[in-house]
């Protein structure tokens, strides 16, 4: 399979259960994400969007279909190969942050770099730079339990960025956050978008559209609508929309 897109999926399928209880979580999905695009995959809970994200990141394997990240074919890759790929080319952001409770913010951020074999000194430098970028340099020595939800998610984002991944995959990144913390995360995503970071966000929070180049609506395991959000609605229609 060839193509210019960074992340490509062809005929990807994954199901749960069997017989009459068979659920097609992801049903023959085709997807191409060009480098530098911010893609939001939206849909009601249970539509299969999280499963799709896990398949794209190699956290789960598809029952059928192919997935490519740059020149790496993910769906048939060995567990070790996947670990290496995640270490170097994929950054994950989760709804429940998944930080290590026993490590401080900066230690959580440098986790990925240390796993990738960087020297402790360089890993620490990089982690501090990233924490500064997400505005948490002064919280570097705090444990996650001493951080707010939004701060924790920003630490998680910094960790995802630590090895300059080809793509950042985010699963409901604002799902556990209040509206102020959601704004913090959105601002960060907007900054990533302008720096050309490829980003795939799965969410049912429509606010993510604010930072997306493209929005895909998913229903029952397949794509219902795929729209580029080019152009700007004029302010009058926004204001008058519900008035």
């Amino acid at each position: 399979m060839t193509g210019s897109a960074l992340l490509r999926a062809r005929g990807v399928t994954r199901w749960y259960g069997r017989g009459s209880a068979l659920v097609r979580a992801v049903d023959e999905v085709d997807l191409e994400v060009p480098a530098g695009q911010t893609l939001a995959i939206m849909g009601p809970s249970g539509c299969g969007k999280s499963t799709l994200l896990h398949l794209l990141g190699g956290l789960q394997r598809p029952a059928d279909g192919e997935i490519w990240l740059a020149e790496h074919r993910i769906d048939t890759m060995s567990e070790r190969g996947l670990a290496r790929l995640r270490r170097h080319h994929i950054g994950f952001v989760f709804q429940s942050f998944h930080l290590m409770d026993e490590l401080t913010a900066v230690e959580n951020v440098e986790l990925a770099a240390l796993l990738a074999g960087q020297s402790p000194r360089r890993a620490r430098q990089r982690a501090m730079t990233l924490l500064d970028r997400v505005g948490l340099a002064d919280r570097a020595k705090h444990l996650p339990s001493a951080l707010s939800g939004g701060q924790r998610q920003r630490v998680a984002i910094a960790r995802a960025l630590s090895n300059e991944p080809l793509v950042v995959l985010a699963d409901e990144p604002t799902g556990n956050l209040d509206s102020a913390a959601t704004l913090e995360v959105l601002r960060l995503f907007e900054e990533l978008r302008t720096t050309g970071q490829t980003l795939v966000v799965v969410t049912h929070d429509a606010r993510i559209a604010a930072v997306a180049d493209r929005v895909i609506s998913m229903r029952d395991g397949s794509f219902a609508d795929d729209s580029q959000l080019a152009g700007t609605a004029d302010a009058g229609t926004v204001y008058g929309g519900w008035r």
Binding site: E79, A83, R86, H98, L111, A112, L114
Partner: protein, 593 residues
Amino acid sequence: MAGRLLLVCRLMVRDLRRRRTETVLLLLLAISAATATLTLGLALNNALAQPYERTRAATAGPDVVATPGATGAEALAALAPLAAAPGVTAHSGPYPMAYLMLTARGKTVPAVVQGRDNSSAALDRPAVTAGTWVRPGGVVFEPTFANALGVHIGDTVDINGHPLRVVGTAVTAARAVYPSADWRAHAGSPLTESAGLVWVDSSQIGALAGARPLSYTLNLRYADPRASTSFTHKRTDGIEYSSWVGIAEADGRLVKPARLALMVGSWLLTALAVASVANIVAGRVVDQRRRVGLLKAVGAGPAMIAAVHLAEYLVIGLAAAGAGLAAGWLAAPALTSPGAGLLGSTGTHPPALRTVLAATVLALAIAAAAALAPVLRAATTDTVDALADAATPPRRRGWRVWLSRRMPTALLIGVRINARRPRRVRFVMVNTLITTTGLAALLMGLAQDRHVRLGETELVNPRSTRTLQAMLLVIVVLCVLALINAVVSTWTAVLDARQPLAVARTLGATPAQVTVGMAVAQLLPAIPGVALGIPAGIGLYLITSMGDIQYAPASWMYALALTVLFTVAVLTAIPALAATRRPVADALQSTPT
């Protein structure tokens, strides 16, 4: 590489620090107890062989002791050619000996009395362990014998009607210790009786013996070691020969049952330690599952995950091995030294390499087995499932739930709580089973006749005392470990059941019903544990003991069963009662979702 190493160490240290009490203390304690008993067992193993040898070396013990059946001048004549026989490199004696009756503290017992003086001997120079060596008017006791009689230096004893002052205690390798000193009604008799050994000044022995003729004994050393190791006892030409091998064996019999008790005890302790380690580890699996998933998500491979977990458990294992070794080694002298009748306490010597290795291997094996679960899981589970943090949902056992509908409230609550946590139920059962087994075996030991007949008098048998001491030691460790296990398991059970209990209370259950329900939940699995443990303990005792065995009274066993069950009930009721004091709403809210 340095980075990854740093990561492994950091994750290990942080995790250990975070879960201090539960993991570190309990795991450490459980594994330490197992290694400590193993060390003790091995130490006693050495104690069996080495002290005799040490004593033999220190006292220039003979290879063979020759005692003619004849008495008086006839005996001396029979012994005379032996000292000059070919192959004999050294000899001492002949020393006069008499089989007399000794009275101390109102007890009259048979004693083997040997006459010695201050002149230096080539062989068999008894080592004085307390007081001084023989002098006219004084008597020196073999320490085990002194202990059994309860005599001390300065006491006055009476030998064949003659009062003598106890001036010291000494050990020898030329004759087995009390009660195997082989007393005879008359010299040359093949029938021996239990007795102890004492020394008196050789100038006095004739007067002490009075009308009884004196026997003589000659110590010999041969150039060829096989001349003494090929037999234990033999009788040729009216002369009885005892080799050092036979004497060592007789001395060894003294600690053999104690050693066996320790060995069996260390199996029990190891089983208990493994059970509690398994329980602790299983409790951590949920947490570790998430950790594993998280590490996988940021790109850690199976090898890295294995390293992180193994490192942690291996550190605990090593620490436990050290603690266990130290504890076992310090406890060993308590079992070997008091009145051992032999030289040398093990505590003053560094543990043998074999012991250190065995204890370390045991500790590491338990720890590695504990680490294995999450590591295997890491290799097999989907990262997503691991991250989902899905603790295996409490299983519903249909029939138990059905059954519980037909019961009083308290029982109903208890049964339902158990139905949710089959693992803990098994653990409570194993815990009570092992503890009861040990206690029942101890009761059997207590029920035995621990006396030995010396003539017309019954004296304490050092062998039984020592065995009982060993059993007590094991049982105390066992009980401490079991108690800690019970506290931990009941406490977590109560924490775990807080929400269902709170729900039960919103439905109208009283705090008393809830508390009883919790106690019932723990008692139900404890009952089969106790019921199986008592016959298991008796069986264990029967298998490992020799000779006539008396059964402990049934009432003791009933009391044991009730005590164990009562302890379990109380241990549960306390935290449950504490939990019911909290308002229901708090309990409902504080439950993590």
